[in-house]
Symmetry: C2
Subunit: 198 residues, 2 copies
């Protein structure tokens, strides 16, 4: 997605070989116009997947998930992390964060996922895949189907993308970064036709 890549080049900050800071438009400050375009793009890429619900995880997944939900005319639900849990009757999974070196429980209320739901999981980043795997686990506990995974920025040099695609899931990343070395963002090269990878 060209607009997103330009935004990353212009406003992203490479902190290390592993870390890209996108606080300026994605996960602290939010550019709502960009977010709207992200929603449209996910809606386009998964238009034939029969999606009935968007699932994400607080906090940074909420903005892209909500915009995608709006464009697909379905509801979004965000998994809560343990600290904010006042929920009962939930589907729960453990998610280990390599960045924070801690395990969080994530949960979704049982009222908000049904066995006949076809779920599109949306998240801001895909790195080692732990958050996505936790969300898949939660969705499967409800007996629902994961019909796709939409990622805003994939760090393709980490193993999450491969892990998810190996399971046969349809994963779409709007920007796929192959390297952050030497303070530079390198994107995977693909011919793009109308924003969809050819």
């Amino acid at each position: 997605m060209q607009l997103l890549k330009e935004k990353i080049r212009k406003e992203g900050k490479v902190v290390s070989n592993q870390i890209l800071k996108v606080d300026a438009f994605l996960n602290h400050q939010i550019d709502p116009i960009l977010m709207q375009e992200i929603g449209k793009e996910f809606a386009k890429r998964f238009r034939n997947a029969g999606i009935t619900k968007i699932v994400t995880i607080e906090s940074s997944g909420i903005a892209p998930a909500m915009m995608t939900a709006l464009m697909m005319n379905v509801k979004a639900v965000f998994a809560r992390k343990s600290k904010s849990l006042t929920l009962q009757h939930v589907y729960m999974a453990k998610v280990y964060s390599f960045t924070k070196q801690e395990t969080n429980e994530i949960a979704i209320g049982q009222d908000h996922l049904a066995a006949d739901d076809r779920v599109l999981i949306i998240d801001d980043f895909l790195a080692n895949g732990q958050a996505a795997l936790g969300l898949i686990n939660v969705v499967e506990q409800a007996g629902a189907t994961v019909a796709g995974i939409g990622i805003v920025i994939e760090k393709a040099f980490q193993e999450g993308g491969e892990k998810l695609r190996e399971t046969g899931l349809h994963v779409e990343s709007l920007a796929k970064i192959t390297s952050l070395e030497n303070g530079m963002v390198t994107f995977e090269e693909h011919a793009e036709v109308g924003g969809i990878k050819s």
Copy 2:
């Protein structure tokens, strides 16, 4: 706002005299169409306030804040709570949560608030006002102006609304609940003309 009130009556759950659960459409599952209408309504009510930025707090404020930002064509920034803080160079405040009986630090990166910003603070709930006061504190540290406060649901039987209005701030609540007694939601009665209180 009529649509919101209907949604509260239909899908809200009165848990106690103090607690209304709106997990079905506002702070766990999100109804994106409702959220879009909420964004439009805030944009209308603050259209003459010269707003240049929306400020909220993770997680439940993000959806209404982003939709308001989209409708007002400005950026939104959400304050992070301490647990997720990997930010440097931040404006910070302490916020006490009566519900969770704990104090959180909230923070916004200094890059995302400027002295000439006119800020609209958006939040999902107003009860005792602690979160809003913390956000006001953060905005003022940047030298910026709080030009308004937009609340989705105000629990008018708690003291937050009065506390904020006493300071002279322009506070707008889309649904003002005067009581949750006997398991019933009672709204403040006001003649509404086109969604704006007359």
